[in-house]
Protein backbone atom coordinates (compact mmCIF):
# COMPACT_ATOMS: atom_id res chain seq x y z
CA UNK A 1 0.00 0.00 0.00
CA UNK A 2 1.21 3.46 -0.81
CA UNK A 3 -2.00 5.42 -0.40
CA UNK A 4 -5.62 4.43 0.06
CA UNK A 5 -8.66 6.72 0.02
CA UNK A 6 -12.15 5.91 1.18
CA UNK A 7 -15.32 8.00 1.22
CA UNK A 8 -17.98 7.08 3.78
CA UNK A 9 -21.36 8.52 2.87
CA UNK A 10 -24.87 8.34 4.30
CA UNK A 11 -27.46 10.53 5.97
CA UNK A 12 -26.88 12.40 9.21
CA UNK A 13 -27.07 10.01 12.18
CA UNK A 14 -25.85 6.88 10.42
CA UNK A 15 -22.41 7.29 11.90
CA UNK A 16 -20.45 7.86 8.71
CA UNK A 17 -18.25 10.54 10.34
CA UNK A 18 -17.49 8.26 13.29
CA UNK A 19 -16.77 5.31 10.99
CA UNK A 20 -14.22 7.45 9.18
CA UNK A 21 -12.68 8.61 12.44
CA UNK A 22 -12.38 5.04 13.76
CA UNK A 23 -10.55 4.12 10.57
CA UNK A 24 -8.28 7.15 10.91
CA UNK A 25 -7.46 6.27 14.54
CA UNK A 26 -6.56 2.72 13.43
CA UNK A 27 -4.30 4.12 10.73
CA UNK A 28 -2.42 6.25 13.28
CA UNK A 29 -2.05 3.20 15.54
CA UNK A 30 -0.32 1.39 12.70
CA UNK A 31 2.05 4.30 12.20
CA UNK A 32 0.51 5.52 8.96
CA UNK A 33 -0.24 9.05 7.81
CA UNK A 34 -3.94 9.84 7.85
CA UNK A 35 -6.27 12.69 6.93
CA UNK A 36 -9.97 12.79 7.76
CA UNK A 37 -11.98 15.44 5.94
CA UNK A 38 -15.72 15.89 6.54
CA UNK A 39 -18.22 17.46 4.19
CA UNK A 40 -19.24 20.68 5.85
CA UNK A 41 -21.02 22.43 3.02
CA UNK A 42 -24.64 23.46 3.03
CA UNK A 43 -26.79 20.32 2.82
CA UNK A 44 -30.51 19.89 2.90
CA UNK A 45 -32.20 17.79 5.55
CA UNK A 46 -32.16 14.16 4.49
CA UNK A 47 -29.29 14.85 2.12
CA UNK A 48 -25.89 13.25 2.28
CA UNK A 49 -23.21 13.62 4.92
CA UNK A 50 -19.83 12.22 4.04
CA UNK A 51 -16.21 12.12 5.04
CA UNK A 52 -13.09 11.05 3.23
CA UNK A 53 -10.21 9.27 4.91
CA UNK A 54 -6.78 9.05 3.31
CA UNK A 55 -4.37 6.48 4.73
CA UNK A 56 -0.85 6.55 3.38
CA UNK A 57 2.70 5.35 3.89
CA UNK A 58 3.94 8.65 2.47
CA UNK A 59 3.24 12.33 3.13
CA UNK A 60 -0.37 13.10 2.21
CA UNK A 61 -0.91 15.89 -0.30
CA UNK A 62 -4.43 16.81 -1.27
CA UNK A 63 -7.04 16.13 1.42
CA UNK A 64 -9.68 16.52 -1.29
CA UNK A 65 -10.25 13.30 -3.18
CA UNK A 66 -12.64 13.37 -6.10
CA UNK A 67 -12.17 9.74 -7.12
CA UNK A 68 -11.45 7.60 -4.04
CA UNK A 69 -10.12 4.06 -4.13
CA UNK A 70 -13.18 2.96 -2.18
CA UNK A 71 -16.64 4.13 -1.16
CA UNK A 72 -18.91 2.86 1.59
CA UNK A 73 -22.43 4.08 0.83
CA UNK A 74 -25.04 3.90 3.58
CA UNK A 75 -28.14 5.25 1.80
CA UNK A 76 -29.58 5.71 -1.68
CA UNK A 77 -28.67 9.37 -2.30
CA UNK A 78 -25.07 8.55 -1.35
CA UNK A 79 -25.12 5.56 -3.68
CA UNK A 80 -26.31 7.76 -6.55
CA UNK A 81 -23.73 10.42 -5.80
CA UNK A 82 -20.65 8.32 -5.08
CA UNK A 83 -20.97 5.00 -6.96
CA UNK A 84 -19.86 6.65 -10.24
CA UNK A 85 -16.89 8.30 -8.51
CA UNK A 86 -15.05 5.19 -7.31
CA UNK A 87 -11.70 4.89 -9.03
CA UNK A 88 -11.53 2.18 -11.69
CA UNK A 89 -10.30 -1.00 -10.05
CA UNK A 90 -11.65 0.25 -6.72
CA UNK A 91 -14.20 -0.99 -4.22
CA UNK A 92 -17.83 -0.08 -3.55
CA UNK A 93 -19.53 -1.30 -0.37
CA UNK A 94 -23.29 -0.91 -0.50
CA UNK A 95 -25.60 -1.03 2.52
CA UNK A 96 -28.16 -3.34 0.92
CA UNK A 97 -30.56 -2.93 3.87
CA UNK A 98 -31.41 0.53 2.54
CA UNK A 99 -30.20 0.43 -1.06
CA UNK A 100 -31.85 -2.05 -3.41
CA UNK A 101 -29.45 -1.49 -6.27
CA UNK A 102 -25.95 -2.16 -7.39
CA UNK A 103 -23.79 0.01 -9.59
CA UNK A 104 -23.80 -0.68 -13.31
CA UNK A 105 -20.02 -0.94 -13.37
CA UNK A 106 -17.78 -3.88 -14.18
CA UNK A 107 -14.50 -2.07 -13.49
CA UNK A 108 -14.91 -2.09 -9.69
CA UNK A 109 -15.52 -4.65 -6.96
CA UNK A 110 -18.92 -4.39 -5.27
CA UNK A 111 -20.00 -5.87 -1.99
CA UNK A 112 -23.66 -5.67 -0.99
CA UNK A 113 -23.96 -6.01 2.76
CA UNK A 114 -27.19 -5.86 4.80
CA UNK A 115 -25.51 -3.66 7.39
CA UNK A 116 -28.64 -2.37 9.15
CA UNK A 117 -29.99 -5.86 9.57
CA UNK A 118 -26.64 -7.12 10.76
CA UNK A 119 -26.44 -4.35 13.34
CA UNK A 120 -30.01 -5.03 14.51
CA UNK A 121 -29.23 -8.70 14.96
CA UNK A 122 -26.08 -7.77 16.85
CA UNK A 123 -28.02 -5.64 19.32
CA UNK A 124 -28.33 -2.10 17.97
CA UNK A 125 -29.12 -0.59 14.59
CA UNK A 126 -26.87 2.28 15.59
CA UNK A 127 -23.90 0.01 14.95
CA UNK A 128 -24.61 -0.07 11.20
CA UNK A 129 -21.47 1.99 10.65
CA UNK A 130 -19.33 -0.59 12.43
CA UNK A 131 -20.74 -3.40 10.26
CA UNK A 132 -19.81 -1.42 7.16
CA UNK A 133 -16.38 -0.71 8.61
CA UNK A 134 -15.79 -4.39 9.39
CA UNK A 135 -16.66 -5.32 5.84
CA UNK A 136 -14.42 -2.59 4.44
CA UNK A 137 -11.42 -3.66 6.51
CA UNK A 138 -11.91 -7.31 5.57
CA UNK A 139 -12.12 -6.47 1.88
CA UNK A 140 -9.10 -4.16 1.81
CA UNK A 141 -6.84 -5.22 4.68
CA UNK A 142 -6.03 -1.53 5.01
CA UNK A 143 -5.65 -1.87 8.77
CA UNK A 144 -5.61 -5.01 10.85
CA UNK A 145 -8.70 -6.50 12.46
CA UNK A 146 -7.07 -6.40 15.90
CA UNK A 147 -6.10 -2.73 15.53
CA UNK A 148 -9.70 -1.75 14.97
CA UNK A 149 -10.82 -3.84 17.96
CA UNK A 150 -8.29 -1.99 20.09
CA UNK A 151 -9.59 1.37 18.84
CA UNK A 152 -13.18 0.33 19.62
CA UNK A 153 -12.07 -0.68 23.10
CA UNK A 154 -10.39 2.67 23.66
CA UNK A 155 -13.33 4.67 22.39
CA UNK A 156 -16.10 2.66 24.05
CA UNK A 157 -14.21 0.99 26.89
CA UNK A 158 -16.23 2.71 29.61
CA UNK A 159 -19.52 1.51 28.12
CA UNK A 160 -19.15 -2.26 28.35
CA UNK A 161 -22.55 -3.22 26.90
CA UNK A 162 -22.11 -0.89 23.94
CA UNK A 163 -18.58 -2.13 23.37
CA UNK A 164 -19.74 -5.73 23.26
CA UNK A 165 -22.45 -4.96 20.72
CA UNK A 166 -20.03 -3.02 18.54
CA UNK A 167 -17.36 -5.70 18.67
CA UNK A 168 -19.91 -8.35 17.69
CA UNK A 169 -21.31 -6.27 14.84
CA UNK A 170 -17.81 -5.39 13.68
CA UNK A 171 -16.91 -9.09 13.61
CA UNK A 172 -20.08 -9.93 11.70
CA UNK A 173 -19.29 -7.25 9.11
CA UNK A 174 -15.70 -8.44 8.95
CA UNK A 175 -16.65 -12.07 8.32
CA UNK A 176 -19.19 -10.99 5.72
CA UNK A 177 -16.42 -9.07 3.97
CA UNK A 178 -13.99 -11.98 4.14
CA UNK A 179 -16.46 -14.37 2.58
CA UNK A 180 -17.46 -11.81 -0.09
CA UNK A 181 -13.85 -11.30 -1.10
CA UNK A 182 -13.22 -15.04 -0.86
CA UNK A 183 -16.08 -15.80 -3.22
CA UNK A 184 -14.80 -13.23 -5.65
CA UNK A 185 -11.29 -14.61 -5.67
CA UNK A 186 -12.63 -18.15 -6.27
CA UNK A 187 -14.88 -17.02 -9.10
Amino acid sequence: MKQYEVTMAGFGGQGVMVAGQLLAYSGIKEGKNVVWLPSYGPEMRGGTAYCTVVISDVRIGSPIINNPTACCVFNRPSFDKFAPKVKSGGLLIVNSSLISASADRTDITQILIPANQMALEGGSVRSTNVAMLGCFIAATGIVEHKTMLKVLEEKLGAKKALLEINMNVFDAGYHFGISAVGERSHA
Binding site: Q21, V34, W36, L37, P38, Y40, G41, G61, S62, P63
Partner: protein
Protein backbone atom coordinates in the same frame (compact mmCIF):
# COMPACT_ATOMS: atom_id res chain seq x y z
CA UNK B 1 3.81 12.80 23.60
CA UNK B 2 2.09 10.35 21.24
CA UNK B 3 0.33 11.51 18.10
CA UNK B 4 -3.37 12.19 18.50
CA UNK B 5 -6.02 12.73 15.86
CA UNK B 6 -7.38 16.26 16.04
CA UNK B 7 -9.53 18.57 14.01
CA UNK B 8 -7.62 21.65 12.83
CA UNK B 9 -9.82 24.06 14.76
CA UNK B 10 -9.40 22.11 18.00
CA UNK B 11 -5.68 21.58 17.50
CA UNK B 12 -5.18 25.32 16.99
CA UNK B 13 -7.21 26.02 20.14
CA UNK B 14 -5.10 23.61 22.20
CA UNK B 15 -1.91 25.08 20.74
CA UNK B 16 -3.02 28.55 21.83
CA UNK B 17 -3.60 27.35 25.40
CA UNK B 18 -0.20 25.66 25.47
CA UNK B 19 1.42 28.85 24.22
CA UNK B 20 -0.06 30.67 27.19
CA UNK B 21 -3.15 32.33 25.72
CA UNK B 22 -5.41 33.14 28.66
CA UNK B 23 -7.94 35.47 27.05
CA UNK B 24 -10.11 34.38 24.16
CA UNK B 25 -12.84 36.65 22.84
CA UNK B 26 -14.86 35.66 19.80
CA UNK B 27 -18.16 35.61 18.02
CA UNK B 28 -19.30 32.40 16.31
CA UNK B 29 -19.01 31.92 12.56
CA UNK B 30 -18.65 28.86 10.32
CA UNK B 31 -16.19 27.22 9.58
CA UNK B 32 -14.18 27.84 12.75
CA UNK B 33 -16.75 27.31 15.52
CA UNK B 34 -14.95 24.33 17.04
CA UNK B 35 -12.23 26.70 18.28
CA UNK B 36 -14.68 28.49 20.55
CA UNK B 37 -16.42 25.27 21.53
CA UNK B 38 -13.08 23.80 22.57
CA UNK B 39 -11.85 26.87 24.43
CA UNK B 40 -15.15 27.35 26.29
CA UNK B 41 -14.33 24.06 28.00
CA UNK B 42 -10.54 24.27 28.05
CA UNK B 43 -9.71 27.83 29.12
CA UNK B 44 -11.38 27.67 32.57
CA UNK B 45 -9.13 24.66 33.30
CA UNK B 46 -6.07 26.90 33.06
CA UNK B 47 -7.64 29.91 34.76
CA UNK B 48 -8.27 31.66 31.45
CA UNK B 49 -11.20 33.66 30.16
CA UNK B 50 -13.52 32.49 27.41
CA UNK B 51 -15.92 35.20 26.37
CA UNK B 52 -18.47 35.13 23.59
CA UNK B 53 -18.81 38.76 22.61
CA UNK B 54 -21.89 40.53 21.25
CA UNK B 55 -20.19 41.14 17.91
CA UNK B 56 -16.84 41.00 16.16
CA UNK B 57 -16.51 44.77 16.58
CA UNK B 58 -16.65 44.22 20.33
CA UNK B 59 -14.18 41.34 20.02
CA UNK B 60 -11.63 43.63 18.40
CA UNK B 61 -11.85 46.16 21.20
CA UNK B 62 -11.76 43.48 23.90
CA UNK B 63 -8.54 42.24 22.33
CA UNK B 64 -7.13 45.76 22.48
CA UNK B 65 -8.03 46.11 26.15
CA UNK B 66 -6.76 42.73 27.27
CA UNK B 67 -3.57 42.92 25.18
CA UNK B 68 -2.82 46.28 26.83
CA UNK B 69 -2.39 44.45 30.13
CA UNK B 70 0.37 42.29 28.65
CA UNK B 71 -1.56 39.01 28.78
CA UNK B 72 -1.61 36.74 25.74
CA UNK B 73 -4.87 37.24 23.85
CA UNK B 74 -6.42 35.34 20.99
CA UNK B 75 -9.40 35.44 18.68
CA UNK B 76 -10.60 33.35 15.79
CA UNK B 77 -13.12 34.12 13.10
CA UNK B 78 -13.84 33.74 9.43
CA UNK B 79 -13.74 36.29 6.63
CA UNK B 80 -16.81 38.52 7.31
CA UNK B 81 -16.03 38.49 11.03
CA UNK B 82 -12.41 39.46 10.43
CA UNK B 83 -13.62 42.36 8.28
CA UNK B 84 -15.60 43.67 11.25
CA UNK B 85 -12.44 43.66 13.40
CA UNK B 86 -10.33 45.74 11.00
CA UNK B 87 -10.66 49.04 12.89
CA UNK B 88 -9.38 47.47 16.10
CA UNK B 89 -6.62 45.61 14.25
CA UNK B 90 -5.36 48.91 12.86
CA UNK B 91 -5.50 50.44 16.37
CA UNK B 92 -3.62 47.48 17.85
CA UNK B 93 -0.93 47.73 15.19
CA UNK B 94 -0.66 51.47 15.87
CA UNK B 95 -0.49 50.95 19.64
CA UNK B 96 2.01 48.07 19.17
CA UNK B 97 -0.10 45.43 20.88
CA UNK B 98 0.71 41.74 20.60
CA UNK B 99 -2.36 39.71 19.68
CA UNK B 100 -2.96 36.56 17.66
CA UNK B 101 -5.83 36.28 15.21
CA UNK B 102 -6.91 33.26 13.19
CA UNK B 103 -8.86 33.68 9.97
CA UNK B 104 -10.34 30.43 8.67
CA UNK B 105 -11.17 31.96 5.31
CA UNK B 106 -14.45 31.35 3.50
CA UNK B 107 -15.62 32.46 0.09
CA UNK B 108 -16.49 36.14 -0.35
CA UNK B 109 -17.02 38.97 -0.98
CA UNK B 110 -19.82 39.95 1.39
CA UNK B 111 -21.44 37.18 3.34
CA UNK B 112 -20.31 34.88 0.51
CA UNK B 113 -20.42 31.21 1.44
CA UNK B 114 -19.00 28.90 4.09
CA UNK B 115 -16.69 26.78 1.94
CA UNK B 116 -12.87 27.04 1.72
CA UNK B 117 -11.25 30.07 0.08
CA UNK B 118 -8.04 32.08 0.09
CA UNK B 119 -9.55 35.37 -0.93
CA UNK B 120 -8.51 37.36 2.16
CA UNK B 121 -4.81 37.41 1.22
CA UNK B 122 -4.90 41.11 0.37
CA UNK B 123 -6.75 41.92 3.58
CA UNK B 124 -4.27 39.96 5.70
CA UNK B 125 -1.02 41.04 4.05
CA UNK B 126 -1.70 44.53 2.73
CA UNK B 127 -3.68 46.10 5.51
CA UNK B 128 -7.43 45.66 5.67
CA UNK B 129 -7.66 48.41 8.23
CA UNK B 130 -6.46 51.96 7.62
CA UNK B 131 -2.99 53.37 8.04
CA UNK B 132 0.59 52.30 7.46
CA UNK B 133 0.72 48.95 9.20
CA UNK B 134 1.38 45.29 8.56
CA UNK B 135 0.44 42.07 10.22
CA UNK B 136 2.82 39.17 10.42
CA UNK B 137 0.91 36.53 8.44
CA UNK B 138 1.43 32.77 8.76
CA UNK B 139 -0.17 30.18 6.46
CA UNK B 140 -0.08 26.54 7.62
CA UNK B 141 -0.75 23.67 5.20
CA UNK B 142 -1.12 20.79 7.65
CA UNK B 143 -2.69 20.47 11.10
CA UNK B 144 0.73 19.86 12.67
CA UNK B 145 2.03 23.00 11.03
CA UNK B 146 -1.07 24.87 12.24
CA UNK B 147 -0.18 23.80 15.79
CA UNK B 148 3.47 24.77 15.45
CA UNK B 149 2.71 28.12 13.82
CA UNK B 150 0.00 28.98 16.37
CA UNK B 151 2.48 28.50 19.20
CA UNK B 152 5.08 30.47 17.28
CA UNK B 153 2.54 33.22 16.57
CA UNK B 154 2.24 34.14 20.25
CA UNK B 155 6.00 34.39 20.53
CA UNK B 156 6.31 36.53 17.40
CA UNK B 157 3.45 38.79 18.50
CA UNK B 158 5.31 39.48 21.75
CA UNK B 159 8.71 39.71 20.07
CA UNK B 160 7.55 42.40 17.65
CA UNK B 161 4.68 43.86 19.73
CA UNK B 162 2.52 43.44 16.65
CA UNK B 163 -0.67 41.58 15.73
CA UNK B 164 0.00 38.22 14.07
CA UNK B 165 -2.58 36.61 11.82
CA UNK B 166 -2.79 32.93 10.94
CA UNK B 167 -4.69 32.30 7.72
CA UNK B 168 -6.16 28.95 6.80
CA UNK B 169 -9.13 27.82 4.79
CA UNK B 170 -12.09 25.70 5.82
CA UNK B 171 -10.11 22.52 5.22
CA UNK B 172 -7.44 23.50 7.74
CA UNK B 173 -10.25 24.15 10.21
CA UNK B 174 -12.34 21.06 9.52
CA UNK B 175 -9.98 18.24 8.65
CA UNK B 176 -8.44 15.87 11.18
CA UNK B 177 -4.79 14.82 11.11
CA UNK B 178 -2.43 13.31 13.66
CA UNK B 179 -0.71 15.98 15.73
CA UNK B 180 1.94 15.95 18.37
CA UNK B 181 2.28 18.60 21.06
CA UNK B 182 5.65 19.15 22.66
CA UNK B 183 5.91 17.62 26.15
CA UNK B 184 7.10 20.89 27.51
CA UNK B 185 6.99 24.18 25.69
CA UNK B 186 9.87 26.58 25.99
CA UNK B 187 10.41 29.64 23.85
CA UNK B 188 13.32 32.03 23.54
CA UNK B 189 13.31 34.60 26.31
CA UNK B 190 11.46 37.83 25.63
CA UNK B 191 12.04 41.22 27.22
CA UNK B 192 9.66 42.07 30.10
CA UNK B 193 6.51 43.92 29.02
CA UNK B 194 7.46 47.23 30.59
CA UNK B 195 4.86 48.96 28.43
CA UNK B 196 1.88 47.01 29.78
CA UNK B 197 -0.91 48.66 31.78
CA UNK B 198 -0.80 46.53 34.91
CA UNK B 199 -1.95 49.03 37.53
CA UNK B 200 -0.05 52.26 38.25
CA UNK B 201 0.41 51.73 41.99
CA UNK B 202 3.84 53.16 42.85
CA UNK B 203 4.81 54.10 39.31
CA UNK B 204 3.85 56.47 36.52
CA UNK B 205 0.79 55.38 34.49
CA UNK B 206 1.44 53.56 31.23
CA UNK B 207 -0.28 54.89 28.14
CA UNK B 208 -1.20 52.44 25.40
CA UNK B 209 -2.60 54.33 22.43
CA UNK B 210 -2.58 54.83 18.69
CA UNK B 211 -3.49 58.54 18.85
CA UNK B 212 -0.61 60.93 18.04
CA UNK B 213 -2.00 64.37 17.22
CA UNK B 214 1.47 65.83 16.87
CA UNK B 215 2.51 64.99 13.27
CA UNK B 216 6.14 64.58 14.27
CA UNK B 217 5.19 62.07 16.96
CA UNK B 218 2.93 60.21 14.53
CA UNK B 219 5.59 60.01 11.85
CA UNK B 220 8.05 58.79 14.49
CA UNK B 221 5.62 56.03 15.42
CA UNK B 222 5.17 55.10 11.75
CA UNK B 223 8.92 54.92 11.23
CA UNK B 224 9.24 52.74 14.31
CA UNK B 225 6.55 50.41 12.98
CA UNK B 226 8.24 50.35 9.58
CA UNK B 227 11.55 49.36 11.20
CA UNK B 228 9.79 46.44 12.88
CA UNK B 229 8.43 45.25 9.52
CA UNK B 230 11.94 45.50 8.06
CA UNK B 231 13.22 43.40 10.97
CA UNK B 232 10.51 40.81 10.25
CA UNK B 233 11.72 40.69 6.63
CA UNK B 234 15.25 39.98 7.84
CA UNK B 235 14.41 37.47 10.56
CA UNK B 236 11.06 35.81 10.02
CA UNK B 237 10.92 34.63 6.39
CA UNK B 238 9.64 31.07 6.20
CA UNK B 239 8.98 28.96 3.09
CA UNK B 240 9.31 25.45 1.71
CA UNK B 241 10.44 24.11 -1.66
CA UNK B 242 8.98 20.83 -2.90
CA UNK B 243 10.72 18.86 -5.64
CA UNK B 244 12.40 21.88 -7.17
CA UNK B 245 14.91 20.36 -9.59
CA UNK B 246 17.17 21.47 -12.48
CA UNK B 247 15.00 19.73 -15.09
CA UNK B 248 11.78 21.57 -14.11
CA UNK B 249 10.36 24.00 -16.63
CA UNK B 250 7.49 25.18 -14.46
CA UNK B 251 7.61 26.50 -10.88
CA UNK B 252 4.31 26.40 -9.00
CA UNK B 253 3.68 28.92 -6.22
CA UNK B 254 0.90 28.14 -3.74
CA UNK B 255 0.30 28.40 0.01
CA UNK B 256 -1.82 26.65 2.63
CA UNK B 257 -4.05 23.76 1.60
CA UNK B 258 -3.66 24.74 -2.06
CA UNK B 259 0.04 23.87 -1.81
CA UNK B 260 -0.83 20.33 -0.67
CA UNK B 261 -3.10 19.88 -3.65
CA UNK B 262 -0.24 21.04 -5.87
CA UNK B 263 2.03 18.47 -4.19
CA UNK B 264 -0.35 15.69 -5.21
CA UNK B 265 -0.43 17.04 -8.77
CA UNK B 266 3.39 17.16 -8.79
CA UNK B 267 3.64 13.56 -7.53
CA UNK B 268 1.22 12.32 -10.17
CA UNK B 269 2.98 14.19 -12.97
CA UNK B 270 6.26 12.69 -11.81
CA UNK B 271 4.76 9.28 -12.61
CA UNK B 272 4.20 10.50 -16.17
CA UNK B 273 7.77 11.73 -16.45
CA UNK B 274 6.90 15.42 -16.07
CA UNK B 275 8.94 17.13 -13.38
CA UNK B 276 7.47 20.20 -11.67
CA UNK B 277 8.47 21.97 -8.45
CA UNK B 278 6.57 23.99 -5.85
CA UNK B 279 7.47 27.09 -3.86
CA UNK B 280 5.29 27.43 -0.76
CA UNK B 281 5.37 30.65 1.26
CA UNK B 282 4.75 29.90 4.95
CA UNK B 283 4.99 33.57 5.89
CA UNK B 284 2.78 35.59 3.53
CA UNK B 285 4.05 38.73 5.24
CA UNK B 286 6.99 38.99 5.25
CA UNK B 287 6.82 37.49 1.77
CA UNK B 288 9.83 35.26 0.92
CA UNK B 289 11.03 37.59 -1.81
CA UNK B 290 14.69 36.67 -2.18
CA UNK B 291 14.08 32.92 -2.03
CA UNK B 292 11.26 33.03 -4.57
CA UNK B 293 13.28 35.24 -6.92
CA UNK B 294 16.16 32.78 -6.74
CA UNK B 295 13.91 29.79 -7.54
CA UNK B 296 11.89 31.54 -10.24
CA UNK B 297 14.87 32.86 -12.16
CA UNK B 298 16.84 29.62 -12.31
CA UNK B 299 17.85 29.12 -15.94
CA UNK B 300 15.67 26.00 -16.36
CA UNK B 301 12.44 27.74 -15.27
CA UNK B 302 10.35 28.97 -18.21
CA UNK B 303 7.06 29.81 -16.48
CA UNK B 304 5.90 30.55 -12.94
CA UNK B 305 2.36 29.36 -12.24
CA UNK B 306 0.58 30.68 -9.16
CA UNK B 307 -2.42 28.71 -7.95
CA UNK B 308 -4.86 30.06 -5.37
CA UNK B 309 -8.41 29.68 -4.16
CA UNK B 310 -9.05 33.26 -5.27
CA UNK B 311 -9.25 35.29 -8.46
CA UNK B 312 -5.57 36.15 -8.03
CA UNK B 313 -4.19 37.88 -4.94
CA UNK B 314 -0.83 36.40 -3.91
CA UNK B 315 -0.01 36.34 -7.62
CA UNK B 316 0.51 40.12 -7.36
CA UNK B 317 3.33 39.52 -4.87
CA UNK B 318 4.74 36.83 -7.14
CA UNK B 319 4.66 39.21 -10.12
CA UNK B 320 6.29 41.92 -8.03
CA UNK B 321 9.09 39.59 -6.97
CA UNK B 322 9.67 37.91 -10.33
CA UNK B 323 9.71 41.40 -11.87
CA UNK B 324 9.08 40.26 -15.45
CA UNK B 325 12.14 38.01 -15.44
CA UNK B 326 9.76 35.12 -16.24
CA UNK B 327 6.12 34.95 -17.36
CA UNK B 328 3.88 34.66 -14.29
CA UNK B 329 0.63 32.79 -14.96
CA UNK B 330 -2.33 32.28 -12.68
CA UNK B 331 -4.97 29.67 -12.08
CA UNK B 332 -7.62 29.87 -9.38
CA UNK B 333 -11.09 28.75 -8.34
CA UNK B 334 -13.35 30.65 -5.98
CA UNK B 335 -16.64 30.57 -4.16
CA UNK B 336 -15.64 27.51 -2.14
CA UNK B 337 -14.63 25.46 -5.16
CA UNK B 338 -11.24 23.94 -4.53
CA UNK B 339 -9.03 23.19 -7.54
CA UNK B 340 -8.50 19.44 -7.70
CA UNK B 341 -5.09 17.86 -8.38
CA UNK B 342 -6.50 16.83 -11.79
CA UNK B 343 -7.28 20.47 -12.64
CA UNK B 344 -3.80 21.55 -11.59
CA UNK B 345 -2.29 18.79 -13.76
CA UNK B 346 -4.38 19.91 -16.73
CA UNK B 347 -3.23 23.53 -16.29
CA UNK B 348 0.41 22.47 -16.13
CA UNK B 349 0.07 20.36 -19.28
CA UNK B 350 -1.70 23.20 -21.02
CA UNK B 351 1.13 25.59 -20.16
CA UNK B 352 3.75 23.10 -21.32
CA UNK B 353 1.87 22.79 -24.62
CA UNK B 354 0.89 26.39 -25.29
CA UNK B 355 2.43 28.63 -22.64
CA UNK B 356 -1.00 29.64 -21.32
CA UNK B 357 -3.31 28.23 -18.66
CA UNK B 358 -6.93 27.52 -19.64
CA UNK B 359 -9.77 29.68 -18.43
CA UNK B 360 -12.29 28.28 -15.98
CA UNK B 361 -15.63 27.58 -17.65
CA UNK B 362 -18.64 27.76 -15.34
Amino acid sequence: MAKILMKGNEAIAEAAVRAGAVNYFAYPITPQNEVGEYLARRLPEVGGVFLQAESEVAVGNMLFGAASTGKRVFTTSSSPGISLMQEAISYMAGAQLPVVLLNIMRGGPGLGGILPAQSDYFQATKGGGHGDYRLLVLAPSTIQEAVDLTMLAFHLADKYRNPVMIIGDGMIGQMMEPVEFPDSYTEPELPPKTWAATGADGRKPQVVKSLFLDPIALEKNNILLHEKYQAMKREEIRFECYKTAPKNKILLVAYGTMARICQTAIDELEGEGISVGLFRPITCFPFPEEALYAEATKSNIETVLTIEMSMGQMVEDVERVVARQRPVKFFGRTGGIVPSPEEVIQQIKQILASGQPTKVKV
